[in-house]
Every structure is written in structure tokens, then in C-alpha cells.
């Protein structure tokens, strides 16, 4: 019989890249303790939504496991594009108002 608690660990935290709670906890235990670090070692947040869905959840998992404050863990900025964009949109339109820092 599978342990219920163990089954929880197979839950997807990042649905775009199918990264489980177990993989994220392993990364944290290996010393990767910011959302950016966890992203780069597990791919959580690298998919279609670029972490818009999972990065806050991951930040809370890190905070719980390490006792660090959330503001040290979350990324300080989001990069352009803020959502997926068709290439032709950028090819044809003149837009210079997007912020990317």
C-alpha cells in the first residue's frame, strides 16, 4: 500500500513542465533556495505560463522548508513578454511601451 503522505509528493506543482513536490523539495534540500534557483534546477516555471501559476506556491514551499522570508525568495521582476505572444505580433506592430526590466 502506498503511503498517503508519499503520494502527495507526486503532486504536480508546476503543471506546464510537470514538476512534482518531491522534485522541488529535493532541490531545496540541495541548497537551491530561491524561486529562480529552483526554476533553473527543476524547470518548474519554465513552461508556457512562465511561473505565473506556480511561482508563489514554490515560494511558500521554500519559505516553509527554510524559514526564510518570502521577499528573499520571490523574483524581483518579471521579464517581457508577460504572456505568450505570437511572433507576427512583434513583427508587424510598432510598440515601445512594454517594460522588460
Amino acid at each position: 500500500m502506498t503511503d498517503d503522505k508519499d503520494k502527495d509528493k507526486d503532486m504536480f506543482i508546476c503543471r506546464c513542465e510537470e514538476v512534482t513536490l518531491r522534485e522541488i523539495e529535493q532541490a531545496i534540500d540541495d541548497g537551491f533556495v530561491t524561486v529562480k534557483d529552483v526554476k533553473r534546477v527543476t524547470r518548474a516555471g519554465m513552461g508556457l505560463c512562465q511561473g505565473r501559476t506556480c511561482s508563489k506556491t514554490i515560494a511558500r514551499i521554500i519559505a516553509q522548508r527554510t524559514g526564510k522570508p518570502l521577499e528573499e525568495i520571490l523574483p524581483k521582476s518579471f521579464r517581457y513578454p508577460v504572456r505568450p505572444e505570437k511572433m507576427m505580433a512583434v513583427e508587424n506592430e510598432e510598440f515601445d511601451d512594454a517594460k522588460n526590466s
Binding site: R40, V41, G47, P81, P84, M87, V90, E91, N100
Partner: protein
């Protein structure tokens, strides 16, 4: 706190971690010191290529052959697939003049042992059915390969850790002291002191600043490369792709290639590679803008416009991210690898520009060999950091 080791590696990018891995494998107690997080620098904002076709016969091409062999052995040693793939590569040729220059270049590479050829339009379209009709031919090499930089870095760190290597992050180096010919004392932001007889400067784009702390001249300049990442899409062709334009300008300064003003000012040349995450990485600009690593709308638009002239089908594809990395560029296009004259025990392994991923394993292995005072490999004389000591 004071911490003592055999070797301090400054910089925890793919080069620093490779140096740390190969040094610790040889029994050295190694600390790797990094000012940022995991892959915060150029190693985390690049493409993933072990690219042969861009290289002139010479030391960079020779070392790429050796690095590829090391990557193959690392698959077992690091117990990870490393996102390794061998899709081959094609360089796209748009006119007769480019064709003649590329034919000559391919002949030189072949005589140096690279498996590469020029193929006609029909053979080209068989491998890449979506290419624009104006492309007249291409090169093809089945040797061009790739790895996932993040997997390689984590692999080096994990295996190095099993040999005792330790990585300290988010704690930049602020000073390096040395009393007489004794140990180096490296001071970090939080006031800690790390002490060792050997220091390896693997700070990439920032290697010049680290060099200054010990009076070493290191003329590395940041060259910004902007890249976009597409959504996951099915494979659109058999190989990765480059445009011949950039190579042609590098090979023949007398030839004026057809570039618009944006492309010329940003040093833009198309590279499109399929990543291990089934997305495509498309780049790249080559801009001297100091240490500014922001992406720009103008850069992203120029990349997209150029790419669509080669692969119009991609117009309907979404891109999900844009990123920029600062490639550590040197005046002669070769890395710095070796010990600084008159600064015994201070080594630099930096300045790979766009070849950091390709050359990481061989760089770490050769650096470890130098630190361990193995017999001197005179092929590497032309990489000596001392070539810039007296400008």
C-alpha cells in the same frame, strides 16, 4: 569566519563549476564562490550548443572535439542525460558569394578533420522542409551537438559535492589579499575570509574586476546576447540552424553582407536550436552595451524579423520568454586559461564568449591539470593570460 581550502574558484557558472569538479576529482579541497544565484550569469541565458561549424581550424576547434568526448563520458560519470543530443547543424546560404566563401571554409574544416559538407537546395529542403525559398544551399555537419547547461551545472555540483567541493552563493568577492608568498585571502560581502594557496578566476564577464584585485590585466568585455524562447512545438526540421551572414563577416572583413541597419548595429545573426525542453531558442544579438543585461524591444523585434525571413512558418508560433546574457569576449576570440606571470598561484579560466557551454568540460580538465602541475601542454600557450599582460 575564516575557511581554508586547497583551491578557491571565483565564479560558479558552468566554467567555475567544471573547474571545481575536475579539481575536486583530483583530490583538491575546493570552494566555489559566487556573487549570484544558480546560473544567474551568462551560463543561464545562452543557447545550448556544442557547435563545431562556427570554428576556424585551430585551438578552439581542437578543444571542441575534446570537449565533446568529455561530455560523452560525463553522461555516465554525472549519472544524468544532461539533455545531450546530437541533431547536427546547418548553416544557411543565401547567395553565390556566401556559397563560395562557405565552400572554401568547409574545405578548411574538412582538412582539419571536421565531418562537414555543403549540400544543395534539394538535400537541404529534405532536412528542413519549412525553409524560405530564397535560401540556395546550406552546410551540414552531423557532429554539432548540444547539452542542457542547467543539467550540466547541477551535475558538476552534485558530483563535485561527493568529492568534497562546496559552493557558496549570493556572497560576492570584494577583495583579495596576500601576505608575501603565503596563502591568498579572499574576502566576501558578508565579511567571511576564504583562504587557499591557489585561486582560480572563473568569473566570466566579470573576470577583469577579479583580476584587478591582484593587479592582473584581463581585457574581457561583456557582449550582450539577446535570445527568445518559443512555446513547446513539434520538431520543425532535422537539425539546428544558423545563418551564414555572421560567419561570412567574421571570415572575410572585405565582404559586405546584406544586413539592415538594426541587424548591423546589434551584430544580429540567426541561430535556432531545439532545446531539451522541446522549445526553440532563437538568437542572437552581439552588442557592446557595458554590463546592461536587459532585453530590449528593438532587439527582440530584430531577432523575430530576421528569423521569419528564414522560417516564415514560425509567424504563428508563440514566444514565451526573452532573455539576455553577457558573453565574456576577448580581443582575439580565445579564452584565457593559465597562471598569471608574477602572481604565482593565481589562474584565470574565462573569456569563452559564446563557447562556454561547448568548452566547459575541457576547460575544467585542463585547468585542473595546470593547477596539479602536470607536464606542460604547449598547445595551450596561445591561451595564456599573459598574452595581454603588456599591451
Amino acid at each position: 569566519m575564516t575557511y581554508a581550502a586547497d583551491v578557491l574558484v571565483i565564479g560558479g557558472g558552468i566554467i567555475g563549476l567544471s573547474c571545481g569538479f575536475y579539481l575536486s576529482k583530483r583530490g583538491k579541497r575546493v570552494f566555489v564562490l559566487d556573487s549570484g544565484g544558480f546560473a544567474d550569469g551568462a551560463s543561464g541565458a545562452c543557447d545550448d550548443m556544442i557547435l563545431f561549424q562556427s570554428k576556424k581550424p585551430g585551438i578552439n576547434l581542437a578543444l571542441t572535439f575534446e570537449s565533446l568526448e568529455l561530455y560523452k563520458s560525463l553522461l555516465t560519470e554525472l549519472d544524468d542525460d544532461l539533455g545531450f543530443a546530437n541533431m547536427g547543424g546547418m548553416v544557411l546560404i543565401e547567395n553565390q558569394q556566401e556559397l563560395e566563401i562557405m565552400e572554401e571554409f568547409v574545405a578548411q574544416q574538412r582538412s582539419y578533420g571536421l565531418d562537414v559538407e555543403v549540400i544543395d537546395k534539394r538535400a537541404m529542403l529534405k532536412k528542413q522542409p519549412f525553409l524560405s525559398d530564397h535560401i540556395i544551399a546550406s552546410t551540414y555537419s552531423k557532429m554539432d551537438s548540444q547539452v542542457d547547461p542547467f543539467s550540466v551545472m547541477r551535475g558538476f555540483e552534485r558530483k563535485g559535492g561527493s568529492y568534497g567541493m562546496k559552493v557558496f552563493r549570493r556572497n560576492g568577492v570584494v577583495g583579495i589579499d596576500r601576505i608575501g608568498t603565503g596563502d591568498y585571502q579572499v574576502v566576501t560581502e558578508d565579511g567571511s575570509i576564504y583562504q587557499a594557496p591557489i585561486v582560480v578566476n572563473a568569473a566570466g564577464t566579470w573576470a577583469g574586476q577579479i583580476g584587478e584585485m591582484v593587479g592582473a590585466t584581463i581585457p574581457i568585455k561583456p557582449k550582450r546576447g539577446q535570445i527568445i524562447v518559443t512555446e513547446r512545438i513539434p520538431q520543425i526540421g532535422d537539425t539546428n540552424l544558423w545563418s551564414a551572414k555572421y560567419l561570412v563577416t567574421k571570415l572575410r572583413s572585405d565582404v559586405v553582407v546584406d544586413l539592415n541597419e538594426d541587424e548591423r548595429s546589434m551584430g544580429l545573426s540567426m541561430a535556432i536550436t531545439r532545446s531539451s525542453g522541446d522549445t526553440y531558442l532563437i538568437g542572437s544579438t552581439r552588442e557592446f552595451v557595458g554590463f546592461d543585461k536587459n532585453t530590449t524591444i528593438a532587439g527582440i523585434r530584430a531577432i523575430i524579423k530576421q528569423t521569419l525571413t528564414y522560417l516564415p512558418k514560425l509567424r504563428d508560433v508563440n514566444f514565451i520568454r526573452a532573455m539576455a546574457g553577457l558573453r565574456p569576449s576577448t580581443p582575439d576570440g580565445r579564452m584565457l586559461l593559465g597562471e598569471h606571470a608574477g602572481i604565482e598561484g593565481f589562474f584565470t579560466a574565462a573569456g569563452h564568449e559564446g563557447d562556454g557551454i561547448a568548452l566547459a568540460p575541457i576547460t575544467g580538465k585542463l585547468l585542473a591539470s595546470m593547477v596539479c602541475r602536470d607536464p606542460v601542454d604547449h598547445r595551450l600557450d596561445e591561451l595564456s593570460p599573459n598574452r595581454f599582460a603588456n599591451p
